[in-house]
């Protein structure tokens, strides 16, 4: 690892990202926001299939997801199945600290990018394998997208709970919005990669085998812990005994009273109705046992409440209550602005739009650069300036469809 020249944690660190999965690309995003130089390899021609994933932003067909997870990266194209393509990868890896790859183990060998083959050439390189089920084990060659990995980790089986489940008890489990399990896998990969960088000077390179499933099982560890206590969790059993999502006149709030004081605040907030005066309700264990009865009352009461007013009064009484807000309200919130959560990014064909930075306040770059519209937009910068090849060579590779 070279010396850091600026204040970002990963300044000077070079990451070659050969990933098409959301998990791998999201890991690359985080590393880029931490200051690494991330170079994404796409297939020559149409590039990453995620480019064509709706929903699209205005103007040209730019995928919102693809733009979000690939910000601040360079794009090169390389056909690894060709000899010159594979040779160029070796040159790149010589200049790199980290190689991130999500090719199926079965296909890695054919491309000559099996971890062992790469380690022979590049002993100090960190090879971060980011796969749905990891690089070893019976399922390592399995295909999986977000929905499958979410369900492989245990959380998929347990959603939804509370009101949504009470309304639709017969429906299949419902997923968490978007690419939750993949982002978790990507964040897990970042943990492994930085850990590898921490000891790279002492132990050299190594294989980091990151499994999106393992990361999601870790996140769902409470589920495994409950099994150890003799409880096999399901959607119905896992619902909060009382509280959760409540429907109001003009939207939804979440309510969770874990402490006695909070429960007492809730009783006050409801105006000390008669049903709350019963003796058994004073004991938190009893409340846990008879949550359904409590919920019936709370849900009926909430239906006459207005969200904003309820949340304000609730917080004043020390009752944990929150409004379910959408993208519009998040972007307009004072808290969002006060914490500079968004930075403007100029997306070709779309214009300047605010984009969320990283989910932590760290030394991150203050500017965001949109991912190039054309696959291979950074070819000259990488192959000529970084690797020292001539323009003529690049033209030849272009003609041969190597890049």
């Amino acid at each position: 690892m070279p010396a850091a020249l600026n204040d970002t944690p990963l300044d000077g660190v070079v990451v070659i990202e050969h990933c098409r999965s959301v998990a791998g690309s999201y890991a690359g995003r985080m590393l880029a926001l931490m200051g690494a130089r991330v170079i994404k390899i796409e297939a020559p021609g149409t590039g990453d299939p995620l480019r064509r994933m709706p929903p699209f932003l205005d103007g040209e067909q730019r995928s919102a997801l693809f733009d979000y997870i690939n910000v601040n990266k360079a794009s090169i194209t390389l056909d690894l199945s060709t000899k010159p393509g594979r040779a160029l990868l070796d040159e790149l890896l010589k200049k790199a600290d980290v190689f991130m790859d999500d090719t199926r183990p079965l296909d890695r060998r054919a491309l000559g990018i099996d971890p062992e083959q790469v380690a022979d050439q590049q002993p100090s390189l960190l090879y971060a394998s980011v796969l749905p089920f990891g690089a070893v084990g019976n399922h390592c060659n399995y295909f999986a997208y977000e929905l499958n990995t979410l369900h492989s980790g245990g959380e998929g089986y347990l959603m939804p709970n509370g009101l949504a489940l009470d309304l639709f008890p017969e429906r299949p489990p419902v997923k968490i919005y978007g690419q939750f399990a993949q982002f978790v896998g990507g964040t897990s990969a970042v943990c492994a990669i930085i850990s590898g960088l921490l000891v790279q000077d002492q132990v050299g390179g190594q294989l980091l085998d990151i499994s999106v499933q393992d990361a999601n099982v870790a996140l769902s560890c409470f589920n495994i812990q409950r099994l150890g206590e003799g409880v096999l969790e399901n959607r119905h059993g896992r619902s909060f005994q009382y509280g959760g999502v409540l429907e109001c006149v003009d939207g939804y709030v979440g309510l969770l009273t874990l402490e006695q004081k909070q429960w007492e605040g809730l009783v006050k907030l409801m105006g000390d109705p008669e049903w709350t005066q019963e003796e058994w309700l004073k004991d938190p264990l009893n409340r846990g046992r008879r949550g359904a009865e409590i919920n019936k009352h709370i849900r009926a009461w909430a239906k006459s409440q207005r969200v904003e007013d309820l949340v304000l009064r609730g917080q004043a009484q020390g009752v944990p209550l929150a409004k379910y807000v959408g993208p519009d309200e998040i972007m307009a919130a004072e808290q969002t602005k006060a914490r500079d959560m968004f930075v403007e990014v100029d997306i070709p064909g779309v214009g300047k739009v605010p984009m969320l930075t990283a989910p932590f306040q760290l030394m991150t770059p203050e500017t965001l650069t949109a991912y190039p519209a054309q696959p291979g937009a950074s070819n000259a910068a990488v192959f000529c300036e970084m690797l020292g090849h001539s323009k003529a060579e690049l033209d030849r590779w272009r003609a041969d469809k190597v890049v």
Binding site: P55, L57, G156, L207, I224, P284
Partner: protein, 409 residues
């Protein structure tokens, strides 16, 4: 295998070997962060007191647990000490522990650490390069920094819960996965800050807002809204552009399989696996857009087919045809899965009393510096003597006096 904190094995270097953390976090998000770091080899000293015990040591009726947990995953691999932070000598003792640490983690409400005299500025004076990590509901700054919250609530204010759920139904509460997701993001940020300290000699204050972590999971929806003024709202199991894409019933009670198709080749694989080759040439299913249009019809057809088959048989068949399919796993499926067991992703732990418990193992396999999960949930104050005596060099009489004074409490 007890992992004695004083014995290091130089031949098997863990990534965070020799790194010490003072950990004031409780509940789920903070402890998950430090649990990850403890798996990577950090010596994590968990600070509690008789007055301020972590939730797993108590009943948790809202979650339906009527007694203390006998084992807590996120406390495993950690040491436990008791310090009464409300006692002046307790706060002083805490400063001494932090002074011999590389990282300090806390999840108090913003402002509490300052009042206790261990805010970031005060800590810098004790240890100039300390990495301080604060995990809170809304962050350390901004008008809503004092907002109180738990995972389902920052799932609400962060927007993730709002966009989760059936299209014709209400939002859905985020559960431990949200707390732990916050902890995981915090672990990544902490590692980055520690790497920066190693490279530059500079410490820093890392500010993690659970609500912002929730929001990071809807970054694409926010970008879409910013660019178009549109938001897709709750979409059930749909992902635009992918069809079929759903969870289908299988043989057995509450048994499901997830099937996801994006590319034409995967669609052809599904049709072949189902014995419906005619679908491949059917123009109404020819493109992903047309399959998306007819997704409800397809869902019906596929559910008819899956209903009479086992999850395992379907998964094997579909994977053979190149289709992304996997059972909806419950906890028992996970701990019995030979694949997971072969990866060490599930481990059996043994308590000092001889109880055994299945725990989640290290979620990464490092070929040279593997992490490990070794020790059971510590008893409250189990490591008082090691930390105060061995690490801080306090005499036994001094420790006893602080216990008497309820500073160690």
């Amino acid at each position: 295998m007890m992992n004695k904190p004083t014995i290091n094995k130089p031949t098997i270097r863990k990534p965070l070997q020799g790194v010490r953390i003072t950990d004031f976090t409780v509940h789920a998000a903070g402890p998950f962060c430090t649990h990850m770091l403890a798996l990577l080899g950090a010596e994590c000293i968990k600070v509690e007191s008789t007055k301020r015990m972590d939730v797993f040591r108590k009943p948790h009726p809202v979650y339906g647990r009527m007694e203390a947990a006998s084992f807590a995953q996120v406390a495993a691999n950690k040491l436990s000490i008791q310090i009464n932070m409300k006692h002046a000598r307790g706060a002083e003792l805490a400063r001494r522990v932090i002074a011999i640490s590389d990282i300090m983690c806390e999840s108090f409400r913003p402002g509490v650490m300052e009042r206790l005299g261990i805010g970031y500025e005060a800590l810098k004076a004790i240890k100039h390069d300390i990495v301080m990590v604060s995990i809170s509901a809304c962050g350390q700054t901004g008008p809503e920094r004092n907002y109180r919250g738990y995972a389902p609530l920052f799932g609400a204010t962060g927007g993730l819960g709002t966009l989760t759920g059936f299209a014709d139904g209400p939002p859905v509460e985020m559960r431990h996965a949200m707390d732990h997701g916050t902890g995981l993001a915090a672990a990544a940020a902490t590692l980055a800050a520690y790497l920066r300290k190693k490279r530059t000699g500079k410490g820093q204050h890392v500010d993690i807002s659970a609500r912002e972590v929730a929001t990071s999971f809807i970054g694409d929806a926010l970008l879409q809204y910013a660019a178009t003024g549109q938001s897709s709202g709750r979409q059930g199991n749909d992902i635009p552009g992918m069809a079929p894409h759903n969870v289908y019933p299988c043989l057995g009670t509450d048994m499901w399989i997830s099937i996801a198709v994006a590319q034409d080749s995967e669609w052809a694989g599904l049709a072949r696996a189902m014995g419906r080759e005619q679908w491949i040439s059917d123009p109404q299913y020819a493109t992903s857009a047309s399959r998306w249009e007819h997704r409800r019809v397809l869902d019906e057809e596929i559910a008819q087919w899956t209903r009479t088959r086992t999850r395992e048989a379907l998964t094997a068949l579909l994977q053979k045809h190149g289709v992304a399919a996997f059972p909806s796993y419950h906890a028992k499926d996970i701990v019995e899965d030979p694949h997971m067991l072969s990866r060490g992703a599930i481990k059996e732990l043994r308590s000092p009393k001889g109880e055994t418990r299945l725990a989640v193992g290290v979620p990464w396999r490092f070929s040279r510096t593997p992490g490990s999960i070794d020790t059971w949930t510590p008893e409250l104050g189990e490591h008082n003597r090691y930390v105060f005596g061995e690490l801080l060099g306090m005499k036994e009489s001094e420790i006893l006096e602080l216990i008497e004074d309820q500073a160690i409490y």
